[in-house]
């Protein structure tokens, strides 16, 4: 054995990994080689150092500290996770409930009318012709494909058939899926909006449930103007910018395109929006419309409306909701919706009761934040409303109700919040110039205007910080608004 061979085996020797023959050979070599003996000594010293240091570090007791920290942080995290989970679940319920669906459907309807929005703010004779043409339409049917991607609640894909009739109202048949974390839930909804009967009926074919909600007259009046008079829609679109996309061909038909990315378009309800409309150059009726919008932080939606059948013969029975046997009423059944001044004030009252302040904004993103904030207040706040809410939940539990039932009990309160968004949207669609100042006005500001909108040229309706409402003239409003903190 030479030195190189020996050195190669020394560490293995220290580790006791040599067989007898190897051991013997190394031993023989070491007897005669001083250099290798020195090498072995050096290795032994290092090994002792390593073993000693390893033992010393094993003495250190990180263990208890780590375990204590884990237990402490675990309970803190569980608490906040429970809160976050609650917020999430409540939001999911909002998203799942029929009214939210209707709101979403309404967005699609408005999106369909995008073309009409272009008709204004232009001298184009062609577009005026489109308006004139659509005004003659009594009933039509079209299809919509809509995708909503929400970073928190997952992706929803829905295909709808929409029936619109000037005489009866609107029916939306939706079929699709909601997917989150690899799980898919089928969606199958049929929604009837029946203005004459002052009712919205939702039949959830997937869950075998139905809900019938009524609307107060004020809301209905607004909704009627909003959904049924194309001239109102034209007015609301006044001033929005669009550009012509030029000629193209869709389904063998010659079309002309228009596009807008005006953020004020659709009442500024969305963070960003892009709408495209294709109109048949011969009939001057819309053929296809595409909308992409950023609804809020982390939520994107896109919709395509196509397959329009203008002046389609629609039978009255299409608008008669039939609730299949064995379906049960959902929690929203029998509720009255109020997207009017009254509903708006009620919603603000709920917010203040739980949070002590007004929401900073009442757009859809603001509403989303708000539902989270309230959900958190429901579980943690010391305010009487929150305590009362928890007491209510406790009673529900004691009476044998499930957790889910308890959360559903909060739904009605949450539903009220939708009025904040819907009422403001309706006002701005009607060009009533609503201005909401929850960012600076507090519940103590009896004389400051929290919200105002136009009634007529010289008349404004004002909701003050203490939630009383007055009608004032333009001069008085100017004075009130001058008092707002900068």
């Amino acid at each position: 054995m030479n030195c190189a061979e020996c050195k190669e085996l020394l560490v293995a020797g220290l580790e006791g990994l040599l067989d007898d023959t190897q051991k013997q050979a190394v031993k023989e070599h070491l007897k005669t080689c001083e250099a290798c003996r020195a090498e072995l000594k050096g290795l032994q010293t290092l090994r002792e150092r390593l073993v000693g240091n390893g033992k010393a570090l094993a003495q250190s007791s990180v263990e208890d500290d780590v375990m204590n920290r884990i237990i402490r942080e675990q309970s803190a995290r569980l608490k906040s996770a429970a809160q976050a989970g609650m917020g999430l679940r409540i939001r999911r319920l909002i998203m799942r409930n029929p009214m939210a669906k209707i709101a979403a459907a309404a967005i699609v309807i408005v999106a369909c009318a995008i073309g009409m929005m272009f008709w204004t703010g232009t001298e184009s004779i062609a577009l005026a012709q489109v308006l004139a043409r659509v005004e003659q339409i009594q009933a039509y049917v079209y299809k919509t494909k809509m995708t909503t991607e929400d970073s928190m609640t997952g992706t929803t894909k829905i295909e709808s058939t929409v029936f619109v009739s000037n005489d009866y109202g609107m029916r939306i048949d939706q079929i699709g899926t909601h997917s989150q974390d690899g799980r898919e839930t089928p969606i199958q909804l049929r929604t009837y909006v029946l203005p004459q009967k002052k009712i919205v009926v939702t039949i959830n074919l997937a869950d075998k449930q139905y809900g019938r909600m009524t609307f107060d007259d004020a809301t209905l009046e607004n909704a009627q103007t909003k959904n049924r008079d194309p001239r109102e829609i034209v007015k609301m679109m006044l001033g929005h910018q669009y550009r012509e996309l030029g000629p193209s061909v869709i389904d063998g038909r010659k079309v002309q395109g228009f596009e807008t990315t005006d953020p004020g378009f659709m009442s500024g309800a969305f963070k960003s929006i892009r709408g495209t409309l294709w109109v048949d150059v011969e009939t001057w009726l819309p053929v296809r419309s595409e909308t992409e919008m950023e609804v809020g932080e982390g939520i994107r939606a896109s919709a395509v409306d196509y397959d329009y059948q203008w002046d389609a013969p629609i039978d009255a029975s299409t608008f008669e909701p039939e609730i299949p046997a064995g379906f049960t009423a959902d929690r929203m059944d029998g509720m009255q919706m109020s997207f009017s001044e009254r509903g708006f004030i009620e919603a603000l009252r709920v917010v203040v009761e739980f949070t002590g302040h007004y929401p900073k904004a009442v757009d859809s993103d603001g509403l989303r934040q708000l539902s989270m904030e309230i959900a958190e207040a429901m579980t943690t706040s010391d305010r009487p409303a929150a305590q009362q809410w928890r007491e209510e939940i406790k009673q529900l539990k004691d009476a044998g109700g499930s957790k889910e039932a308890a959360i559903q009990a909060g739904q009605e309160r949450m539903m009220k919040l939708m009025a904040l968004n819907m009422f403001t949207m309706i006002l701005s669609q009607q060009q009533k110039d609503p201005v909401y100042r929850g960012d600076v006005v507090t519940p103590n500001d009896i004389e400051l205007p929290l919200m105002r909108w136009k009634l007529s040229d010289n008349q404004y309706r004002v909701i003050f910080g203490d939630l009383h409402a007055e009608t004032v003239d333009a001069d008085a409003l100017a004075k009130l608004e001058a008092a707002l903190p900068k």
Partner: protein
């Protein structure tokens, strides 16, 4: 203590936080050696080890292969060490002004800082074997099994690691003498 890492990781994920204790016990010396080499001070290393273990516990669901717990833990520890070093730099800059008039207490050196620093400077393959053998309590055949390599490779790596460590430690001594 005889169960695999995978077993304990899965127990923790199944909602038995107390089983994390076994993993802490198993890797505490190794983690400390790893960190002490980087941070140079016993108290800092302990602090960082604690932080790394706590983070690991709460991020456990992100661990893709429960069997590679150690490599993953060391990755977390590296991040913690980097953060600490950055914080330390900032603190030192702030204190450098004050230091003129105050006598700074000598930081407590860890058990064998020279050795730990030398280990920290080893290329990863060698460092892993040294850490597992002398701080992780594994035998050479245990390491071979854990790393899924032949025993011969482990002994060769270990032998090479010894040589590198001796060079490095010798270099340190020379530098100290020269300084």
């Amino acid at each position: 203590m005889t169960e695999t890492d995978k077993y304990y990781v899965e127990r923790c994920l199944d909602g038995h936080p107390d089983d994390f204790r076994h993993l802490v016990r198993r890797y505490q010396p190794l983690l400390l050696a790893h960190l002490a080499g980087k941070l140079g001070r016993r108290d800092r290393a302990e602090e960082a080890a604690q932080e790394a273990l706590v983070r690991a516990y709460f991020k456990m669901d992100k661990l893709k292969k429960p069997g590679s717990f150690l490599a993953w833990l060391l990755g977390i520890a590296d991040n913690v060490a980097k953060e600490q070093q950055r914080a330390e730099q900032i603190r030192r800059k702030r204190e450098s002004v004050r230091a003129f008039c105050e006598e700074t207490p000598q930081p407590e050196l860890s058990q064998d800082y020279a050795l730990e620093a030398a280990i920290a400077a080893l290329p990863e393959a060698y460092r892993t074997v040294i850490l597992l053998r002398y701080y992780g309590g594994l035998s050479c055949s245990g390491i071979a099994e854990k790393l899924d390599t032949p025993l011969g490779t482990v002994t060769k790596t270990l032998s090479r690691a010894y040589a590198l460590l001796r060079d490095s430690l010798h270099g340190q001594t020379v530098n100290e003498v020269q300084a």
